[in-house]
Amino acid sequence: MQILPEQEIYISDKPFNLTSLNHAIQTNEGESGAAVIFTGAVRVSVEESGLTGMTLEHYPGMTEKQLADIIDEARERWHLTRILVAHRVGYLEPGDPIVFVGVCGLHRAEAFIGAQFIMDYLKQKATFWKKEHYGESTHWVDAKSSDAQAAERWA
């Protein structure tokens, strides 16, 4: 996955290069006073014990548009100097990063809140679907009401 200077959205079926993403978001000619980076990864908790992997599906075309809309809305709300959103599709193993959101702002408050807003809206609006694998058996993940509530507080 090559990071291009003007491109803010990356959807990839290959593992992330976190070093490149971190480097891109931290590139700073003095315009940013703060950078916040969030990564979400495939988790194996008590409820998911036995989880062997996960497949991420998306709606090509619509997903990119929605992420662009979410980024635009974040910029309307706060003065954000740099934004980078990357999301995996395809097969992932426990521990693999699923999503990367990097947000820079003049001050830390904007960077923190911008990153949280983008993640909350991404989880509620962007057309991605997770399927969990437990060995040979699989099941589609159900949407959580807590994610809906997290997005609603920004309305």
């Binding site: 619509m62 548009k65 999301h87 999503v99 991404l122 991605f128 679907w129 589609w140």
Partner: protein, 85 residues
């Protein structure tokens, strides 16, 4: 008129169908389309006969609802609530 239907995630698996060209009369809404899809029986019927909160729909890659009118060559996608991130 012809519309292009897309199905994603669990819907694609339940229906064993990811893409379908479908013929509709002019002026049909998403609700009318769901009624016609339900007549295909089996999982089509269970998914579309009582299309509820758990059935999301987009038209030309914008979120839509049951009242959205359809036009020739629209891309209409059906999918469950999203679970990315």
């Amino acid at each position: 008129m012809n519309v292009n239907l897309l199905f994603f995630a669990s819907f694609k698996e339940q229906l064993d169908c990811g893409r379908l060209d479908f013929e509709l009369t002019e002026g049909t809404t998403v609700a009318g389309l769901c009624e016609q899809l339900a007549t295909k029986g089996g999982n089509w019927q269970s998914l579309f006969s009582a299309a509820s909160q758990s059935v999301k729909v987009s038209v030309n890659q914008e979120m839509a609802d049951m009242q959205t009118p359809l036009q020739a060559n629209d891309e209409v996608a059906f999918f469950p609530p999203v679970t990315g991130g």
